[in-house]
Amino acid sequence: MDSLWPALEPLLDEVQRPARYIGGEEGACPAPHGPGKVAWLLCYPDSYEVGLPNQGLQILYEILNERPDAVAERAYAPWGDLEALLRREGLPLFSVDTHRAAGDFDVLAFNLSSELVYTNVLNLIDLAGAPVRAADRAEGDLLVAAGGHCAFNPEPLADFVDFFVLGDGEEAVGEITEALAAHRAGGRREVLGALGALDGVYVPAAYEVSFAGASMTVAPRWPEAPETVHKRTISSLGDWPYPKRQLVPLTEVVHDRLNVEVFRGCTRGCRFCQAGMITRPVRERPGAQVRTMIEEGLRRTGYDEVALTSLSTADFSGIEQLVADVVGPADGAGGAGCPAVTVSLPSLRVDAFTVGLAAELQRARRTGLTFAPEAGSWRLRQVVNKLISSEDLEAAVEAAYSQGWRRVKLYFLVGLPTETDEDVLGIAGLARRCVELGRRHVRGASVTVSVGGFVPKPQTPFQWFGQNTVAELRRKLALLAEDLRGDRSVKLRWHDPEATLVEGLASRGDRRLGAVIEDVWRRGGTFQEWSEHFDCDLWLDAMARRGLSVEDYAYRHRSEAETLPWDHLSAGLHKDFLWQDWQDALAASGLEDCRWTPCYDCGACTGYGIEHVVASASPPAGGSQGTGHAPPVPVRLGAGRELAGVS
């Protein structure tokens, strides 16, 4: 249980950005290790700069360290230069808190926020000194755990991870700690059996998965394993005011600011959005608690920027007043003559973005404003259920320009179901219209259009959709680029279609994909999230070697009868609700937000006896609030009931 620091320190003189390995962040609070304690190494499988701000890991880090029976430290993927030195010197993955070897911990737990980090997960298990395949691990080896959004289809990593946690981890980590402490004397099989019996914990080894041609069957192998594993949901965010001591890094990281989560869950019902589907229902943090967390957080950290995080922060009850309070008194100055605190709202719905909110935001330092219309036409926005009208978008963009912003970012997806070239070109039209509006208010108004390729995600209505091929995405992007050529006020950026393909393979992959991930890792394919390291050919070659077809995994439409690889795992959403929503999507029929309208029983609340926690019973002011615009659109309320023209 010794610190590896004396061995690591000389290596740090030889690597880039060594500050990411030293720990010592303000707020770091590892509890002392001790006999009987369960030791967790919480790992973000990407670089420190990307991983440190992850709020999920920070929350669990604090909760575990507050427990008398647990200790938690943090690790991040060492960059390639350090990894090479570690392997040369025979040194393992280490925690940045006390620089202990990963092998000194009981659990190595990963946060999975993107499919492209899967090969890093394998690399880190290996660097930690454990066998990469779960089946090869023996008594005394690390238990490998994973959670986060990608855990809702864990099958591609099933061969490598001992257990997954589905949904909110706040309560589950405590129960897992207790089960581990109670059963570890009984050995690995007993421990995993006990974990698999906990709500929200999925132990892949406890299930037999077999394939016969195109069909797949799943059956529990262990008596204690449930037929279906259900996600965990904390009923009240107010009970969990974490992180209480957000980590303040000593070196620059992404999102380097105070982050306060104002609500979890989203019921806007965007059909492409896995985050919105799997985190239902909406649970707002009480306004008073939000204010306290901001006030104390700013004082403690010295940050001058706070991000109010959620999936759609403009929907938070009383958002305008909250922002006004944080920014400070109307003379534009915060306390003691300091400049006003900058508030950033990372995800903004245009139909809830008002001139008032724009005015409050601009009083402090201006951060970028990003709106996500997602699709270029009203028809396609109905398909994806992003029910914002062109008028909503124009009003929001105009509000921004009128309050002095010069550049607005618009985010779109291409490759959406039913998309036509007209829809794609609609993106260019919208962007140009925004610039036109901007010119009324500011000189040099410009728009940045970011285009991502759509990847259908498990546990969403689009889980049955065959994604666009790389060639098709390229064709659409070229169409858009051609249309915008010569237009200097619209800047176009896009995500690499090949990366979209690989995300798609892993997103809806099954257990057979594990061999592909291992193959890519063994051939050096780590840090695939980084464009300079991403290598599509590694993936395509591995697919071919394993006899798996890209067509089958990514491009094929699934049928209603087909067993999906994640059908034995539930995010609460009834499969028939998702199928109906998929059919409605194809009919370009929208679905209202159940936070402010009657429940249509998707299953997320009704199945678990919980409900929305929303301070305001009515939508925030402004925009058309997800109801679209005239002409009236059919909006489905309740299971299958169609009401025309609800507004």
Binding site: A19, G24, C338
Partner: protein, 255 residues
């Protein structure tokens, strides 16, 4: 009112670069609730002027910075005595403030004023003999040409007059070489110094011990100058000067 601080950077925090340190300082002055002046405009920044950058991995017991406070000269003088404690409490481990004094209006910036730095280079236990030969060669050289690249162009300049005060001393884990390197017109960096003669000298941890201002034939440290630069404090408190680290005191120099 501008206040000059002397601070230290030792241990793990030495792996943070100049930009990282600047961000740590910006947060520290807010956490300490100092009445700092801010720049105007869209992105107001605390008015903090840093001196000569310290490279990643190097330690220092003699870093300086100037911070503008919205205080009168008298108020600033009163506050200065509290600053070492108040700021050290909110700085990360390894960083601490060792002295603070108000500056006279119009005093030259650190970048302009500092003319040389004293550096300490840790040597392994077995390197003493090699180092002593190396020092002899540097001292007896008539010229010390240093090849550097600037904006893609190679230049060679003789830095003989910018190198002095070479001295070897014992330390707990071996020995140390101490040298004073000039910063004008262009600073001789520690790494450049080590390759002034062939073969280059291999050294371990590098630490800045002093920064010096040479003016009118007198040499002094940025916090302990003769009259004329610092604002009068009315009986300088003992904490006013940078806690002296005698250059030849090896026990503070190595671990």
């Amino acid at each position: 009112m501008r206040v000059r601080l002397c601070w230290t950077k030792q241990g793990r925090i030495r792996f943070c670069g100049h930009r990282d340190s600047a961000r740590i300082w910006e947060r520290a002055v807010r956490r300490a609730d100092l009445p700092v002046s801010y720049t105007q405009g869209y992105t107001p920044r605390a008015k903090i002027a840093f001196g000569l950058a310290l490279a990643v991995g190097q330690e220092s017991v003699a870093e300086y910075l100037d911070v503008d406070l919205r205080l009168s000269q008298e108020e600033a003088a009163g506050l200065a005595a509290d600053l070492p404690e108040r700021l050290s409490a909110v700085l990360p481990e390894g960083m601490a403030v060792s002295g603070a004094r108000p500056l006279k209006p119009g005093a030259a910036s650190l970048q302009e004023a500092v003319t040389s730095c004293t550096w300490e280079f840790a040597l392994g236990p077995a390197d003493r003999g090699l180092a002593s030969d190396w020092v002899g060669r540097v001292q007896s050289a008539e010229s010390l040409p240093l090849e550097r690249e600037r904006k893609g162009r190679r230049t060679v300049s003789d830095v003989r007059t910018a190198v002095g005060g070479l001295r070897l001393a014992d330390s707990r884990s071996g020995s140390v070489l101490v040298a004073e390197l000039g910063t004008k017109p262009r600073a001789v960096r520690p790494a450049e110094f080590l390759r002034l003669t062939v073969p280059p000298l291999a050294a371990g941890r590098i630490r800045r011990l002093h920064q010096w201002i040479m003016r009118d034939g007198e040499r002094y440290e940025p916090l302990a100058p003769p009259a004329g630069v610092l604002a009068p404090t009315g009986g300088a408190p003992a904490a006013a000067g940078c806690r002296a680290v005698p250059a030849a005191q090896p026990e503070v120099c190595a671990e």
